[in-house]
Each structure stands twice: as structure tokens, then as C-alpha cells.
Amino acid sequence: MSCDATLSRRQFAGTLSGAAAAPFFAPSFSTAAPRGSAKRKRVALITTIVRKFSHGQHFVDRLLEGYGWHGEHHTSPLELVSLYVEQFPETDTSRERSRRHGVRLCPTIAEALTLGTSRLAVDGVLIIGEHGDYPRDAKGQPLYPRFRFFKDVVKTFERTNQSVPVFQDKHFAMDWREAQETYRDAQRLGFPLMAGSSLPVTWRIPAIEIPLGTPLVESVGVGYGHHGYYDIHTIETAQCMSERRAGGEVGVQSVQAFKNEAVWRLLGERESTRKLCLAALNRSQTLKAAPGYTFVEPSVEHLKRVSPFAVAYVFEHLDGFRTTIFHFNGTGTAFSRDTAALNDFTYAGLTQRGDVLSTLMFLPMPPTMSTLANFFSPLVNHIERMVLTGQPSWPIERNYLTTGMTLFAVDSLFADGAKLETPDLRIRYQPTPGPHFWTG
């Protein structure tokens, strides 16, 4: 943003909803169209719940209130015109936002998309199916209604014979057949679909990107979290890097889960995986230390002490590439953020030459490290870009693959670590150049 030193506070405040400003660093959408401008594209947001720190709140507020971006408070070039919210707890903030910003709160998804007309009345749709009071399936995965929301959107597209870009938060669904149908619907109707976690787009410390075509042979992602909730974050942490290897992504042929003792055996047997796991942990800023200290040198022996509860997923790709995901969930028998051995997501990749590339995908997580969850800001910015241009920032095949990796990994975990062949995950794609992470 070009900044005029002669502006007073009052004058400056007035400019915030005023003229457009050029992007400052890397390509991204800075304030492009002022609030109230006829040029703003309109979007509907479909979500399970909007309350403090729910995913719905993070997306809704960035669209309505703006967000810090590239050295300014960025006003979204998208106008949130309608909301479909399924649950309204006492802590709901959607009604207040709806009143204050004049956003239509709709009883159905169809109405949110058509605004009560017979035609599609929005230029984009966000589906945020995360958080809220929903049952879990037999494997403990939350049954968030992402697929049901998506199908309602698709039905409206079909009924109006129109379609617009759609963003789906995290992975497509909790069931592989539903995920397949999601992908096929988007292909069949030909609308841009983008999905995924914020991990690929948040800050990286250090701020590295793997050059396209790098001869990577193995990736490791290290994180934490309950299966079915956080697996996608660590899997996408690794996949957004792995896909940049020479030849691009060719798909996954098998998945196998490991738990507790089996994780330590895996680390003992696979030298390169152990090396990468420890390299990733050397980027962690939260690995639990020994008593009397504030930090620690990562080692398998230390991990055994601070995280007897550990889970790993090994993915064999069709070109011989291997991805391993580790979750070091600490000393409990069930996941709890408080007892996890770490609270961040890190990556390490091995090249054919034996070089190791590693970084932290940094999430300034509220409430301990921030009052916001600003890792949603780059995700919202990518959504803005997709709605304005019709081009998703990365191929949907990444998210199709990571959805499958997540679901089959949990299947393997609940089949006592059986190795599962995954012919459905022969998903090939080439990455877009990027970088897509937050750099400016």
C-alpha cells in the first residue's frame, strides 16, 4: 500500500473503504473493490456453526470485517450476502453479524444461493463444515455434514442450470464414496472447486518453498491431533511439498497406520524416516521438554518418554515416493491438546542427493498465541482470488488425494494397522507454481 504521510487519523480512516491499492509483495489480492461497490462479487457461506473461534466465525469475519494483509487492513473484494447456519448455540455470533452487516440469514442452502429467486444470485460459495454438535462415526470421526451441504449446493446449481466457484473447508467428507461423488460432481458440472487446510498457506518458518521438479524421494509431516480431525492438516502439510517433486504427483498405492509401540518400531527400522522425523522436530517450537528445561533436542528416546501415545501413517506413492505422517499425542490415551507432546506442524523432505529440506508451518493459534487465527487470512485470500478469477490456486486433485489419504489412513488405524491397497488413490496431477503460502 502506498501510504501518504500527510493523512491525519480522520482522513486516513476515510480512505480505508476508498480507493484501490496495489498488492505490495507476492501476488495476492489486496483491497480490490471497495465495500458497497457494485463491482464486488457476491458470495454465500454455508456452515455448521458460527461462534468464537469456530471455522465458520473465522471465514465470516474475514469477509465482513476484513483482515490484516500485506501491511494493511484488507477489505474483502467479496460481499458476503447470505449465510446458512445449521446450529445456533447461545454463543452464536452469526445473528449479530447478520444484523450488523445486513447479511441475509437463510433457512435453506438453496435460499442462500438464490436469495429467494429462481436463479443463482451469488458468484461463489464457501462450505465450512467444521465444529458444531455432530455425532461421530464408529471410527471416531466427526460426522460434519460437508457432503450434505455440498450436495444441496450442487442441487441448486443443477436446478438453476448455473454454477459458480466453490470452496470446501478441509477434506471433502468423512466417507470415501461421498468424497468421490464430490469430485465427480465438480467435474461433471465444470465449476471451480478448491478445498483444504490452512497449513499449506500459512507462514513458514523458515519461509521456504520447494522448487518445482526437485528430486524428492521422501516426505515426513509431524503434528498432533485426534484422528479424523487433524490428520488432514498434517497430510496436507506434507502433500503441498511432496507434489512439487520431479514428475509431480502420481497417486498413492497403499496406506498403513501404526500406533504406539509400532511407531517406535517403524522409527527404529527406517533410517531415512527417522532422520526426517527428527529434522522436522528440529523446526518445532513446542516439543515438550524434560522437567527443569524449556526445550529439548529431539530424539526417539525423548519421544517415547513424552509421547507414548503416538500414531503414524505411511503412504506408498506409485512412483516409489513415500510419505510418513506422525502424530505425537503425548501421555494420554485419548487426544487432548493439553497433554500432546507438541502443538505445531512441521515438515521435512529428503532429496535424492540426501539433502533435507525442513520447515515449520506456523499457526498462531488462539487463545494461547493470539487472539485471532490469522492462518485463515491467506486461505480467505485464495478464495477471493478464485471467485474473482475463476481459477483455484491449486489443483483440486490435491484435496481429492488428501481426502482419500485421510480416510484410508483412519480405516487402517481401525483395522489394527492393516496395510490397505488404495487403487482409488491413483490420482495424478501437476502442482501450480506458487508459492501459495503467506509471504508478504
Binding site: M1, C3, D4, A5, T6, L7, S8, R9, R10, F12, A13, S17, F24, F25, R51, K52, Q57, H58, D61, R62, E65, G66, G68, W69, H70, G71, E72, H73, H74, T93, E96, W203, I205, P206, A207, A279, N282, R283, Q285, A289, G292, Y293, T294, F295, V296, E297, N343, V356, S358, F362, P364, T368, M369, T371, L372, A373, N374, W438, T439, G440
Partner: protein, 371 residues
């Protein structure tokens, strides 16, 4: 490279999550560096824990904690300053937690007992005034001790990762910090001066300083004595806006909505006019955000801004960045930054204190101009 066999830590306190612990343990255990866990090989670590006046029990407890490191943590020995420094080619002086500089008597003793040719890193400010800083600098020079001082802020990660382009022409800069004086001023100076000294012509000192607080601070912004747009740029980098974000997580344009004066408790700031005409504002805005952010306006009208990242507790990995700078200093004998920055910081800390007693009055500072 200089031979480095022993490093002494001269501490005014020791407890978990203090700078003393974060730094000493990194030299004892190793630290994260360049993607690996780097160990300070081949170097013995000695320690001296000064007993300050009236802290008998605290001293005993902390010494006990250090003795545990002596028994199990690789610490070679604990002893009086003279003994700890006897064979040390490098030493680290860490003042009491939450203070800006070591006590003068303490640092004088350390410099007096230091080996000739040693390297000395003082955590924080070298001193809390220019005269004392010059005395230490002279004493160090007489003993051929190379001095450097600073906090983690000059070396921590910036979000985004950026630096002022070398020789950039700067018009104006601003930093937002929080906390009690004078630590807040030290953080503001140590956060901003390292950024600004890369500008065309380098840092040539400060010719006058003015303190403002409360409404006068906002009025000065309205009079364009400091820049609201730069404040907006700095705050856009914050991860911790206060106000309604606390209530319900909303993202808010704190400047555009006029919320900064409403949220700030005891707002205060110092306006600095540098010798080359660059204007700097150090704003201490408790209650507005809870992280350190700066913005710089270049002569071409463009802005640079970033958050000075402070990594989560208890690890506070930004101390690893400082440990790396210190180790490089000790091994090469080349300080990570010029001692002139330390002198300017010490002088400005004193000027900040003096001007706070005379709000709204420019205090000319010819002693802080550099040639």
C-alpha cells in the same frame, strides 16, 4: 576463527524462562540451528551467579538450580566472577530478568576480570545511559575486550521474512510495543534500530526526542507528528488485537474504526528525529495489541511492515537465533552488530527517561549524533 575453549555466563538471576536460563541452556544442551540441533562442541561452560543485595534465599534457590546443571547438565563449574572469567575466551552477562541492563558494578567487575582479547555479549542494553555505556566501552577497549549487546529482537524471525533493502531511503518509521518502562523502550529501540540502520547513509544518530502520552499522543498523530497510516500498517501485522477480538474473535480494523485510543491504557510514545531527518515513533500501546510490530515508509512512498516474532513459551525459540549470533561472535571475534548501536540504545534509554518527565518538549540530544 579464534580458539574457543571456555565461555563464562555471568548471571544476575537464574530461573526457568528467564533470558539467563534460555541462553545458558542453549550453550549447555545445544540449540535449533539451520534445521538441525547444533551443539556447542569442545567448549566448557562456566557460570557465576552474583548475589545481589537482599536476595539471600532467592540466591540460594537459584544457585541450587544451577548446581543441578553442574551435576547433570554439563556445566563445568560455578564460582565467583573472577574465577569464572579466568580462562574464558568469551563471556555472557545477563541482567536480572525484566531489567534493561546489568548493574554497573556487576558489569564493571566482569570487564575487569575478563581475559584480554575476550568477547563479551551483554543481554539487553549495555547500560541505561550513555555515560555508563561509554565507560564500559572504554574499559573493554583497554582490556581489548570486544563488546556487543542486545536482546532477541534484532535476530528473531520477522513475519513476513523481510529486511529493509540495503541503502534504502527511509522517510519515517514506527514500532508498537507493550509493557512497563524502561523495558518497553528497550524493546522498541532494539526492534527498530536494527531495521533502520540499513538505510542509505546508515544510522547517524538522533538529534532530538519528545515524549507524549494520553490524548497528546493521539493529537500528535493528527498533527502528523507521527503517522496513523504507519500505525495501521504495523497493526495489520498483529496476531493479538485486543478489544472485540477478545470478546468474539472478530477481526477488526483497529485504526480505521478509531479503536486505538479507546483500547489503549496509559498510551505513551517517543518521537525521535534522526540526524538525517528520518522520523521515528516508539509507541507503547498496552491494551491495543500484545505483540511487537513495526512499519517503515520509504522515500518512494511504499511501506514495509512486519511482526517481530516471539516464539511460544516455554521454548521461546527466538533465543536460539540469538545463541547462534552469540556463538558466531565468540568463534570469530566479530561482533554481530556495531557497538555504536549499543551506545545509541543506552543513550536513548536515558533520554526516554528524561523526556518522560517533560511531556511535549523536544529535548535536543547532540551527544547522540554520530559522525
Amino acid at each position: 576463527m579464534k580458539p574457543l575453549r571456555q565461555i563464562a555466563f555471568v548471571l544476575e538471576d537464574f530461573a526457568l524462562q528467564t533470558p539467563a536460563q534460555q541462553l545458558l541452556d542453549r550453550f549447555l544442551l545445544g540449540y535449533r540451528r539451520a534445521g538441525g540441533f547444533h551443539k556447542v562442541e569442545g567448549v566448557e561452560i562456566a557460570c557465576s551467579r552474583a548475589q545481589l543485595e537482599g536476595e539471600g534465599r532467592v540466591w540460594e534457590a537459584e544457585t541450587h538450580e544451577l548446581h543441578w546443571r553442574l551435576a547433570y547438565g554439563g556445566l563445568k563449574f560455578i564460582g565467583p566472577v573472577s574465577y569464572a572469567l579466568r580462562d574464558a575466551e568469551a563471556f555472557v552477562v545477563v541482567p536480572k530478568n525484566d531489567t534493561t541492563a546489568p548493574s554497573e558494578a556487576f558489569l564493571t567487575a566482569a570487564l575487569t576480570h575478563a581475559q584480554r582479547g575476550a568477547a563479551c555479549f551483554v543481554f539487553g542494553a549495555l547500560a541505561s545511559n550513555l555515560a555508563a555505556a561509554r565507560t564500559f566501552s572504554t574499559l573493554a577497549a583497554a582490556r581489548q575486550v570486544t563488546l556487543a549487546s542486545g536482546t532477541t529482537l534484532p535476530v528473531t524471525w520477522r513475519l513476513p521474512q523481510m529486511d529493509l533493502p540495503s541503502q534504502a531511503r527511509v522517510a519515517e518509521a514506527l514500532i508498537v510495543v507493550q509493557g512497563a518502562s524502561p523495558l518497553a523502550e528497550l524493546h522498541a529501540l532494539d526492534g527498530l534500530l536494527p531495521v533502520l540502520e540499513r538505510r542509505a547513509g546508515g544510522e547517524r544518530g538522533v538529534r532530538q526526542v519528545k515524549f507524549l502520552s494520553g490524548r497528546e499522543l493521539w493529537r500528535a498523530g493528527d498533527r502528523r507528528e507521527w503517522s496513523w497510516p504507519l500505525l495501521a500498517a504495523a497493526l495489520s501485522r498483529s496476531d493479538s488485537p485486543q478489544g472485540d477480538a477478545i470478546l468474539d474473535g472478530r477481526t477488526q480494523d483497529l485504526v480505521g474504526l478509531g479503536l486505538v485510543p479507546k483500547l489503549a491504557t496509559n498510551p505513551r510514545g517517543w518521537l525521535l528525529e534522526h540526524t538525517d531527518g528520518v522520523r521515528t515513533a516508539l509507541l507503547v500501546l498496552d491494551g491495543v495489541v500484545a505483540d511487537f510490530n513495526f512499519a517503515v515508509r520509504l522515500a518512494d512512498g511504499s511501506n514495509l511492515s512486519a511482526q517481530l516474532f516471539r516464539a511460544p513459551v516455554p521454548g521461546q525459540e527466538h533465543y536460539s537465533r540469538l545463541a547462534a549470533a552469540m556463538e558466531d561472535f565468540f568463534r570469530t571475534g566479530t561482533p554481530p552488530w556495531p557497538v555504536s548501536r549499543s551506545l545509541l540504545t543506552a543513550g536513548l534509554l536515558d533520554v526516554c527517561r528524561q523526556t518522560a518527565a517533560q511531556p511535549g518538549v523536544w529535548l535536543r540530544t547532540p551527544e547522540l549524533t554520530q559522525r
